[in-house]
């Protein structure tokens, strides 16, 4: 083999573009956040126009009035307090649900009985709406936070366990063999090989679990409100409906949405970027 100089290649100046920064407009259009913000603004505009046309604040307050009520309730601290109460309860339920789901899935990966148990339980209980358990929870745990926690855990645990288990089972045989090759067994094997390898699936389980928990919490609060003096967001919505303060009802709903968006857009997005995207397991 000889190192001949390649023939017939054009000099670098002959190319139009080798690498060129995109224009500001191209960058703006390429940015997901910008595009989504535009959609949100458009929706808010539609709301405002339609509400003015309906002109009945008891049925549909305008976007602006809702925003005013939202700002007022935030400034008075009432909404923040209620959201805080809800979030605190939610996080507690979410955390307990996650731990239980992880324990179940690890058990399912290490013993055959565990796997059968998990499959039967998730098949049975995953389709059962958490709210349907609320009456039972009231009988068992009484009127209060333990009952809400119970339905929260139920709503988080099954979808997360299901996704985690499915993710574990989809881990390639090669990776499993690599894990066993270096001598990993039992829980160490699950935590160091299976959990990261199944992380895309686990992450989607976390998201589904979060959404279920959030919905369940608000619904549960609506159904039986509060016992300990300061209820959560669901109770806030219910109370304001009773006094016909519809803008405040909207403000409550608005808060629910905003928190959902923030968690999805900031927390889960960041988690995704720091893990599965960085690892090339998801594009």
């Amino acid at each position: 083999m000889t190192n001949k100089k390649p023939l017939g290649l054009s000099p670098a100046e002959a190319f139009g573009v080798v690498e060129q920064p995109l224009s500001a407009r191209e960058r703006l259009v390429g940015n997901v956040v910008v595009r989504k913000l535009l959609i949100l603004m458009l929706l808010a505009l539609l709301w405002e126009v339609y509400a003015r046309w309906v002109n009945n604040p008891l049925v549909l307050p305008t976007f602006w009035v809702t925003l005013e009520s939202f700002a007022g309730k935030i400034l008075s601290g009432e909404l923040l307090l209620k959201a805080g109460v809800s979030l605190q309860l939610l996080l507690k339920g979410y955390a307990i649900g996650l731990v239980l789901a992880l324990v179940l899935s690890v058990l399912a990966m290490t013993t055959r009985l565990g796997q059968d148990l998990l499959e039967v339980l998730t098949a049975m209980l995953n389709p059962l709406p958490a709210i349907a358990l609320l009456p039972l929870a009231l009988v068992w745990f009484g009127l209060g936070n333990p009952s809400i926690l119970f339905v929260l855990v139920h709503s988080v645990m099954w979808p997360v366990a299901l996704n985690t288990h499915a993710g574990f089972q989809a881990v390639s045989n090669t990776l499993r063999m690599v894990g066993r090759n270096v001598g990993l067994t039992g829980p160490a094997y699950v935590l160091r090989i299976l959990v990261p390898a199944a992380f895309p699936s686990i992450l989607s389980g976390l998201k589904v679990g979060w959404a279920f928990a959030w919905r369940t919490l608000i619904a549960a609060e609506l159904v039986f409100g509060t016992t300990s003096g300061s209820g959560g967001l669901g109770w806030f919505i219910y109370e304001n409906k009773n006094v016909l303060d519809i803008p405040a009802v909207f403000a409550g709903l608005f808060t629910v949405i905003v928190i959902g968006l923030v968690v999805e857009g900031l927390i889960f997005r960041t988690l995704e970027r720091a893990t599965v995207r960085k690892w090339g397991m998801q594009t």
Binding site: S172, T174, V178, N181, V182, A197, W279, G280, M281
Partner: protein, 265 residues
């Protein structure tokens, strides 16, 4: 046969079976061979001759139903870091760890080395496969050949008794494959490790191995054993190149030359 170097692996009358949903399949039948220190031992055969299954049995993933496998006189019972596997699949690297992380992981999870020593050994191994510039890269950013080099580096860093390579270059393009074979031989020249290399390519077997064991299919049985000096030399008795002799032996029972294309990449 090579008797001047110590016996390392003794595979003695090993029959391997695995279960599918409906059948119990015998993969190999009473296969025996011995691997000595520093051997580049190639298991060669067509698809279905149980060569990969045999390698997995040496790896400790499958128990023989008959016969035994001894490593340094010890019965092989389960997978362990004294026999490191290098697979064909690119996904054998942990995608959540960098090149360096993958090598370190193997060292630390297996308890071979820790801390600064592990780091030093990992860097050494990565330098040997010429990937030091990519230490901090994640596997998904590497080419197929580079991924296989990381897997080899990971295996060598462990300094196992035997490196078990299961068609490691089969998924690579022809040019890269040639290059990887050369690099493997250079690495071997430098540290003289023991390796069992599974392949279904005759040219690869002749280039890579110093000993080649030919298996016949369904179920796998030992057909013949050859020694190779890597140059595909001409046999004095038959006047044939080594690869031609292997080829003739592989296809005497199934005289369909069209099969060749499928097996002999």
């Amino acid at each position: 046969m090579n008797t001047s170097t110590p016996l390392l692996l003794d595979v003695d009358g090993v029959t391997l079976q695995y279960k599918t949903r409906e059948h119990r399949v015998t993969a190999t039948y009473r296969v025996s061979f011995q691997v000595h220190q520093g051997d580049r031992f190639v298991l060669l055969g067509p698809s279905g001759c149980g060569k990969s299954t045999l390698l997995k049995a040496v790896g400790g993933y499958i128990r023989p139903v008959e016969g035994q496998i001894l490593l340094k006189g010890q019965l092989i019972e389960k997978p362990g870091p004294d026999r490191v596997m290098v697979f064909q699949e690119f996904d054998q690297l942990l995608p959540w760890k960098t090149v360096l992380g993958n090598v370190l992981f193997a060292l630390e999870a297996s308890g071979r080395l820790r801390g600064a020593q592990a780091l030093e050994r990992a860097h050494e191994a990565i330098t040997k496969v010429k990937l030091e510039r990519f230490s901090d890269a994640y596997p998904h950013t590497l080419s197929g050949g580079m991924k296989q080099r990381v897997a080899i580096a990971r295996g060598m860093a462990m300094e196992p008794d035997i490196l078990l390579m299961d068609e490691p270059f089969a998924a690579l393009d022809a040019l890269t494959r040639r290059q990887m074979q050369d690099e493997l031989l250079q690495l071997w020249e430098a540290s003289r490790f023991t390796v069992i290399f599974v392949t279904h390519s005759i040219p690869e077997a002749v280039r890579v191995g110093n000993r080649i064991m030919l298996l016949s299919p369904h179920p796998g049985q030992v057909r013949a054993e050859f020694e190779s000096d890597g140059s595909d030399s001409i046999d004095a008795d038959s006047g044939l190149h080594l690869s031609e002799r292997i080829h003739a032996m592989l296809f005497t029972t199934s005289p369909k030359p069209s099969d060749e294309a499928a097996h002999d990449k």
